[in-house]
Amino acid sequence: MQVHKYDVVIVGAGGAGMRAAIESGQRAHTAVLTKLYPTRSHTGAAQGGMCAALANVEEDNWEWHTFDTVKGGDYLVDQDAAEVMAKEAIDAVLDLEKMGLPFNRTPDGKIDQRRFGGHTRDHGKAAVRRACYAADRTGHMILQTLYQNCVKHNVEFYNEYYVLDMLMVEEDAYREDGTAYKQKRVAGVVSYDLATGELHIFQAKSVVFATGGAGKVFKTTSNAHTLTGDGMGIAFRKGIPLEDMEFVQFHPTGLAGLGILLSEAARGEGAILRNSEGERFMERYAPTIKDLAPRDIVARSMANEVREGRGCGPNKDYVLLDLTHLEPAHIDAKLPDITEFARTYLGVEPYTEPVPVFPTAHYVMGGVPTNIEAEVLQDNDTVIPGLFAAGEVACVSVHGSNRLGTNSLLDINVFGKRAGLSAAKYAATADFVELPEDPEKFTSSQIDSMLNSTGTERVSVLRKELQDIMDANVQVFRDKDSLDRALVVIEELRERYKNVSVQDKGKRFNLDLLEAIELGFLLDMAEVMTAAAMHRKESRGGHYREDYPNRDDENFMKHSMSYRDATATTEGISGIRMETKPVIFTRYQPMERKY
């Protein structure tokens, strides 16, 4: 086992991790550990754009963007964070342009902008052109541009190093009022080198988690196979709370049956949704902005059309995305990749035929709680010195209960940069925290027991059962019965997981072993999402409870905070403690959310 020492270790090389690395790498001795080659990260799958109130094509300002973000998140957004994001969005886009990102341009050479769901002029009056874009591969261009700049700045990458544990110590400490508490401090991480099967300890003054989401909890998802909630899972096991995990975004337009993302940019460019009667049904659900309503509303409307018998296809289980009224040349210029997906995977020609679509699990709004400096919190307000998080793994919270389209590419750039700066600044004056004894012990025993297990359960079987039960019960519509059904199965799967074995017993590129470890994270994430969904007895944003169909500000205008706690029981689930945290308000008081 090797021990490496760095000032800053960044875990994950998607947009947030690499944006952090560009800042940190120029200021401190920095390493990036990533389970994939950096350019394989799922930031590259983002399509439509990145919003910033540049006002290049029409009047706009960051305050309108802040409002849209807060309203889009159904007022569960921390408004101080949303202000930071909307304000810094403008520089974030300009930074990327200066780094070389090839944005689409207006006729006079400026960065072009287009419409996107929930982004409006003057507090909801009409859709606004705010999304800066590079065709329908904006995420690809961001990922490539950030990687190019990491190469430029000689950022040190450890590719295919899976971080499986975080090293933490707890110290006795006292609050201002004299009460005692345990202060967590981060000492480093434990990682597994895929090529050799060796464990490496990385001791670091600052650790940045930028590990992305957990979409693979669901069967139908736009997420990559590798998005298994590793970072959230590691933090959760270390006693760090997870905030707002009941809020998962289901993107309206996944290719039916496959879940592959078709960008909201399609609707931004004029495509519309139709049901089996050929009706543009969004006119009924969101009369003002129709197909460009936020994603939670559109996804629910689609699911409702299907539920009421107006779905299309032999099983009447999807609706149609209609681009046939758009000019083929316009489609080719603005939406080349997604129309190619429809042709390749469904054999549908979008010029002439509408495309079958249905909501697909897309984004986890919740995550590891941070403040606006990207510092991770161990409770509602205590910072863990040296630990930072940014991107989908984190919950700052700029997305509240429903993220607006394009705001994730923005989030990773704004808070990725902040995380990199904060981590380097902290490392400049901090000392290393002493490594615990046998730092690799937890991970090596986990691996050994998995490799030596003679259990009869297969990872792929358990994972499929988990994904099926989550799709059936914890998707866009939920109620107590469905959540109960999911929990029973999740608990049973957690038991069966103890009896899992892997077939590959080798040390080289043992992806069989890693899928087994990833399944452990998925089970934890499914449990905590379902527990938090059970706890929130109201409907808000992406979380819709049919037994509590209204928003309940009196009881639930607050973030949920789930803790792993062996001694606790919440909603009948043992091992999870549920607490809440106030929402930060600055400018906007909650209003009814209509579009």
Binding site: Y37, T39, R40, H42, A45, V57, V93, L94, E97, K98, G100, P102, N104, R105, P107, D108, G109, I111, Q113, R114, A134, A135, R137, H140, M141, Q144, Q148, V151, A224, H225, T226, L258, L261, E269, G278, E279, R280, C312, G313, Y318, L320, L326, K334, D337, F341, Y345, L346, V348, P354, V355, P356, R458, S460, V502, Q503, D504, G506, R508, F509, D512
Partner: protein, 260 residues
Amino acid sequence: MSTELPEPASKIELKPGVGGGGEIPTFDITLRVRRYTPESTADAYWEDFKLTMYGTDRVLDALHKIKWEHDGSLSFRRSCAHGVCGSDAMRINGRNRLACKSLLKDLDTSKPITVEAIKGLPLEKDLIVDMEPFFQSYREVMPFLINEGHEPSGERYQSAEDHAKFEDTTKCILCAACTSSCPVFWTDGQYFGPAAIVNAHRFIFDSRDDAGDMRLEILNDKEGVWRCRTTFNCSEACPRGIQVTKAIAEVKQAILSRTI
């Protein structure tokens, strides 16, 4: 530039059977996989798997079916599973393809479908190769914007025409399908390979970049663009539809016009 469109109709008559549908057919295939498991067997070998697959399945689905239901030790890289991350380039029936973009129904399923690792890079295990030499060539062409002028406070302007000069090569996902399909690269590991040249092209023809001459100098090397024999394997292999050979030709042309 976005254009204003008239509002589409609230209701239209759908053609019968529109939007695909119908029963998805199943069919049987044999996937013949080139295995290499150096921890147990010194030499690579072929192994056949008989599988029942669906009409919408891709080669990646067949590989997953083997790994998840038959042999968990079969090793291959994959992530996004829809052709944007570049993890799963492999030789499918002798041609470089992304496994996640190759539909089984488009292949001849009456014969075994062969799957093997891409060529020209050190083989590690089954379908996994060492990508480091590939990324080394990429890094050598300085694949990042270099601008000597003072930093503008706002954005740099670029006309749509200037943007169009290099847009094709910005689509590269670094999957190595092109480079590992190139016969020159197979025989000469020093050759930069098409992907590195594509990524140099992306900056050489970017009006905002000032280091085109330096990159042209690098590619004028004996292991540079002149090794290209225009066999078009690279263009044929590119899963993003980049006109790789054309990009290489434009770089050659730029070197020539520069030295005249």
